[in-house]
Amino acid sequence: MALLGTVTVSHYLAVGAVLFVTGALCMATKRNALGVLMGIELVLNGANLNFVAFGSELLRKDNLGLDGSLMALFVIVLAAGEAAVALAIALNFYNNHMSIDIDQADDLKG
């Protein structure tokens, strides 16, 4: 533990960065529509971690205060909404293509 020193905002940011990058990679590499959705969730969660860290009174005196938590709340709620719509889209896509491989979503290709 001593090697880490005190836990600071930076450490939270680092964890957030890892989540963000893994999420982004998920979005890039997964061919399953639901996998892409999960990537989005990870990205949002990484961002959330940053908000909470900046808003935390336990980590830093000069914090965002409630704004951090509030932004995180909004992100969570909107992510739930986003997931609902994305799932509906995935479902419709599956109904039409009998597959959830997003590489097949090329109907609009000229």
């Binding site: 533990m1 600071t8 964890v15 399953n32 639901l34 990870l42 909470v52 938590s69 709340l73 719509v85």
Partner: protein, 201 residues
Amino acid sequence: MTLAVDAIAWHQFFFVMFALLTCGFAVGVLFSGNIVRMAFYLVLSLASSAGLFFLAGAEFVGAMQLMIYVGGTLVLLIFGVMLTAQDRFISLKTPAGEWVLSLIIGGTLLALLLAAAFRYEGWQQAELGDTTPTSSQADTTARLGLSLVGVRPDKLDDSPRKAGMSGYLFPFIIVSVHLLVVLVGAAYMARAKKRTTTTAR
């Protein structure tokens, strides 16, 4: 307080534990091929990050994360099972080239972000001594609730004209309406128009 000194060690211990779990399972999501396992790892990752929220003193956000985010993923999972019920062991493989490219870009991005995270000195100063994980601050929940309806108990010493006010009532209402619309829309979209499709075919 001798107690507080040791408590810091615990805080670090739990932070490292939750951080490792969060990142580890996130990587698990990335490298797993099976959609249900991905969802399972995602749940664990999100739940561990809820632990990080608790550590940061955002109890309400943490509980919210557990309830909504994780609950939302649950639905993801169900859909995952439903949509792949027949060929559940078939994983959609990504070409190796794409992997390499993405990993290079991702690694660069990660390096950049980490550098940024540790660059600013101010972010690395822990100015508060007491970070005992069990120490609850005065109820953040009520203050969050008040903020959402437009009262800011933590901003009372601002300029007198705007004392205690925040701009969060309006976003809150917008988000509420937005959510309602989203739910109605999603329910409408998800309904299969089977009869029309069958007649079209």
